[in-house]
């Protein structure tokens, strides 16, 4: 099977072409303002390097920043209605209450509270009122709003009310896009609702972007299936991506960590992805990035997405090096993309992290003669500082006392050539394009996050039920059932409540059924 993986980063759009598990070609192209031009550029480049035509590729996986950019830049977002099934609960805080005002204004700030919702144990807060929902649908129609987000209290425990309400709105507003919060997020009403609203306001754009990808890929002669990567390192097909654009947020760090795992063959490790300006550091467990447990903001909006627990430090191949009292300072400012013209070894006049590594003989790059006369003390101090920054970051990312290896990837990782924190260092082949490899090898997942009342079933039964649900979700997302495995199980008892309820999160992943 021939796969093409493309990952859009802030500076570069990377692409790889893989034949089965083998990387045939990997390239970088500048990311374009419209994203699409850069993607097509990278695609053409990787095909030409591999000496293949687009028609020979079977599948294409793309990690894109189209939708994150739209939210961050407040552009191309549709007028959106949020309907929350909750009354009388949660009336103290309306939808979008914690959004930046400008973003709320762009999408109109339209919301309604309606009867419905569930208790933690599945009881109804109040029955759904179809008449009330039809009246709200009428108001939405009158305002000419074409996107609807529906949230319901404890919908991760029971999604029936959101589904029923969704059907009512679909009948009343046949042309509207409808997003259900239970399809997107986990427990935490405001955060889940926020994600659903962002998804809804991206639906016009997602239809357009998916169509543009179809068109552009057909234009270069690609006839296979294409997928977008999600923030948990798994895939969604074009139709699903059109419905859930919000799930593409932050897929970049995940792709590079997954690529690092694949290229090195190591499933449990610390990954350091070094670019021109920053290094992203995170940890891999069973080949997947560890997920963040706290709320993550996107464009100023709190969400509880399945985001990788990755942090950035201001160290990259282009980081400025400045000598000073008490040691050298490396970063956080950087020449970034201009390293190819501004770094000393490339004929420029700016001292960068890459220059000191070359000067120290750790790396052969550009014209080493241009750094031969650098002060040895400064070189030593800068190298020490780089080592210290990397060591701190790796220590912070370690999630077990086991001596896990450190995998370094990304274009800037040329500055690392010695073990960090005494741990085994792995710099796999094709390290500069690990993110595109991560996109190319992405799998399909299913997840469940709900509260079980343990008065009716044992904890083991609850876990088994959650695992079945997660597996089914992965299969319905396109995984081959035989290949599905459970990669993450977490159960946290509900505090301050007798009656033994527990919150269970399970994630299953499998190979794409092509």
């Amino acid at each position: 099977m021939i796969r093409i993986g493309i990952d859009v980063g802030g500076t570069n759009t990377d692409a790889v072409l893989m034949d089965g598990p083998r990387v045939v070609a990997g390239v970088k192209a500048p990311t374009s303002g419209d994203v699409m031009t850069g993607v097509i550029e990278a695609l053409k480049k990787v095909l030409s390097e591999a000496g293949m035509s687009a028609s020979q590729a079977d599948v294409m996986m793309i990690g894109t920043t189209h939708f994150t950019n739209a939210v961050v830049q407040r552009r191309r977002l549709a007028q959106t209605a949020c309907v929350r099934l909750c009354l009388p609960a949660t009336a103290s805080l309306p939808p979008m209450v914690d959004w930046p005002a400008d973003l709320r204004e762009v999408i109109g700030g339209h919301w309604w509270l309606a009867h419905g919702g569930n208790e933690f144990d599945g009881r109804k807060i109040s029955p759904l009122d179809p008449e009330e929902l039809r009246r709200i649908a009428g108001e939405i129609r009158e305002k000419g709003i074409g996107s609807v987000a529906i949230s319901s209290v404890f919908s991760p425990v029971s999604s029936e009310m959101e589904q029923e309400a969704g059907e009512i709105f679909a009948r009343e507003l046949p042309d509207a896009h409808i997003t259900l919060s239970s399809d997107i997020g986990r427990i935490g009403l405001l955060e889940r609702e926020n994600a659903a609203i962002m998804n809804a306001c991206l639906r016009d754009l997602s239809r357009e972007v998916v169509e543009a990808f179809r068109h552009a890929l057909a234009g270069v002669g690609f006839a296979g299936r294409f997928f977008l990567t999600q923030n948990d390192g798994t895939l969604m097909d074009a139709a699903f991506a059109e419905r859930f654009p919000v799930l593409t947020f932050a897929s970049g760090p995940t792709n590079s960590m997954r690529g690092a795992a694949f290229l090195s063959g190591v499933e449990d490790a610390i990954v350091v992805d070094i670019g021109g300006t920053t290094a992203d550091v995170g940890s891999l467990q069973k080949g997947f990035p560890r997920q963040a447990t706290v709320a993550v903001e996107v464009g100023g909006v709190r969400t509880n997405f399945r985001m990788p627990d990755v942090f950035s430090i201001g160290l990259g191949g282009g980081s400025h090096v400045i000598d000073g009292e008490g040691g050298a300072k490396v970063g956080p400012t950087s020449v970034g993309y201009d390293i190819v013209t501004q770094a000393l070894v490339f004929g420029g006049d700016v001292l960068t992290a890459t220059d000191v590594v070359v000067a120290d003989g750790g790396l052969s790059l550009g014209d080493p003669a241009r750094v031969a006369d650098l002060d040895k003390g400064l070189v030593r101090r800068a190298r020490d500082r780089i080592a210290e920054m990397l060591e701190d970051a790796v220590e912070r990312a370690r999630i077990s006392p086991d001596p896990l290896p450190v995998i370094v990837v990304g274009g800037g990782s040329v500055i690392v050539e010695k073990p960090i924190a005494g741990l085994e260092l792995i710099k796999p082949d094709h390290f500069p394009v690990a993110n595109a490899v991560g996109a190319a090898i992405a799998q399909v997942s299913g997840e469940v996050d709900r509260v079980y009342s343990l008065s009716e079933m044992s904890r083991d039964e609850a876990l088994a039920d959650a695992k079945t649900q997660a597996t089914d979700a992965a299969v319905s997302a396109g995984a081959r059932r035989e290949s599905v495995e459970i990669v993450d199980v977490e159960d946290v008892p509900l505090a301050y409540l007798p009656g033994n309820a527990t919150r269970v999160r399970v994630k299953a992943v499998g190979e794409l059924n092509v």
Binding site: V97, I125, L190
Partner: protein, 368 residues
């Protein structure tokens, strides 16, 4: 204006107040985020809240203590209709025929720092600068109010559906805890509780004083330190008189459910000055006891707080996880929390550590 006029709470105070309240939550108490947004909404609609010192009211004025009771997880999913505590408070006014003059918090630590401020904003009452714990504790009876003889009834509990239950005659504070918690579960896992009216002279004598101001100061210190890119943990210690007891990295977290409460233990491997040492923290929603190299060094009711080493963000016991780098700081509980009467309600024995004899932390920073 005299000191007795207190100060008006402003919208920009809410973020630091919630941050400071989370620190004083000693790992529990629930996240004040939702409550902070609720106060903000009320303020944006024109409500004002004045914070008064404990001595501002005449002796016979009546003070109402309200708070949320239930599971923090329910609180982030089915958050409040908004007037749960107000209804409970009003029910007591209707029952007794007396009006309240001010609100006070049961616990400044965590989500319940905000609840009386919300009720105060709705009722047009001031809120007193103090609370019943100076921190967070898991149960209703664990306040200085009950420890020093506040009446366990009449109390009232209300939910978002406008159900109101009055506990007319309750034999003691432990019965109130039991009935109120069972009612909260029936009400969907979260409810607003108002306890019996307290006279202002009683509150003045037994409340932990100035804790709203204290939470505000802690929050402002953290935000200011972050803004100036200073070491947040050091600044918090300098501003509060807390003591740094350990820095390290979490190597193990265990949790289990016992009687509706999460009990567990976290292990921390020392870093920096503590390299080679190991600390252990017992948790029951809140941090209860800190051992360093097998020796108990801080225990309830003194305050044990985990701050994220780099950001100073308070870490609740629910999100403790392997690999986090933490600074463990300790603060002495208020003297009112350390008397023999208090020990009987909030001492180590009450949390299942009969083998520990409470050894109080010294007041203030240790100086040469």
């Amino acid at each position: 204006m005299s000191d007795r006029d207190g100060f008006l709470l402003r919208e920009e105070d809410l973020l630091p107040l919630s941050l400071g309240a989370a620190v004083l939550g000693t790992g529990g108490g629930g996240n004040p985020y939702i409550g902070m947004l609720r106060v903000r909404e009320l303020m944006r609609k024109g409500a004002t809240v004045r914070v008064l010192p404990l001595d501002a009211l005449p002796d016979d004025a009546l003070v109402s203590e309200v708070g949320g009771i239930g599971a923090p997880l329910v609180g982030i999913e089915k958050f409040e209709q908004g007037e749960e505590c107000l209804r409970a408070m009003r029910a007591l006014e209707d029952l007794t025929g007396n009006r309240f003059s001010a609100m006070i918090s049961a616990e400044i630590g965590g989500a319940n720092s905000m609840e009386p401020i919300i009720t105060a904003a709705q009722a047009g009452l001031p809120v007193l600068d103090g609370d019943g714990m100076g921190r967070a504790f898991p149960e209703v009876q664990m306040t200085t109010f009950f420890i020093y003889g506040a009446a366990p009834s009449p109390a009232a509990i209300s939910d978002e559906k406008k159900n109101v239950i009055i506990f007319r005659d309750v034999q003691d504070m432990y019965w109130l805890e039991r009935f109120a918690r069972d009612a909260a579960v029936a009400m969907g896992g979260a409810a607003g509780l108002a306890i019996a009216p307290m006279r202002a002279d009683f509150v003045r004598r037994v409340a932990v004083p100035d804790t709203v101001t204290q939470a505000l100061n802690i929050g402002r210190t953290i935000l200011d330190a972050r803004h100036r890119r200073q070491n947040v943990v050091d600044r918090v210690i300098a501003a509060t008189g807390a003591t740094l007891f350990f820095t390290g990295k979490l190597t193990d977290v265990r949790r289990e459910l016992k009687g509706g409460f999460v009990r567990g233990e976290a292990r921390i491997e020392g870093l920096g000055d503590w390299a080679g040492s190991e600390a252990r923290i017992a948790i029951q929603n809140e941090n209860l006891v800190l051992w360093v190299d097998g020796k108990p060094v801080i225990m309830v009711p003194d305050l044990i707080m985990n701050l994220e080493l780099e950001t100073g963000e308070p870490i609740t016991t629910e999100v403790l996880r392997y690999g986090q780098r933490v600074a463990v700081i300790g603060m002495p509980a208020h003297d009112l929390m350390k008397t023999p009467e208090a020990m009987a309600v909030v001492g180590p024995e009450c949390f299942g550590y009969p083998e520990l004899t409470f050894t109080p932390l010294a007041h203030g920073p240790v100086t040469a």
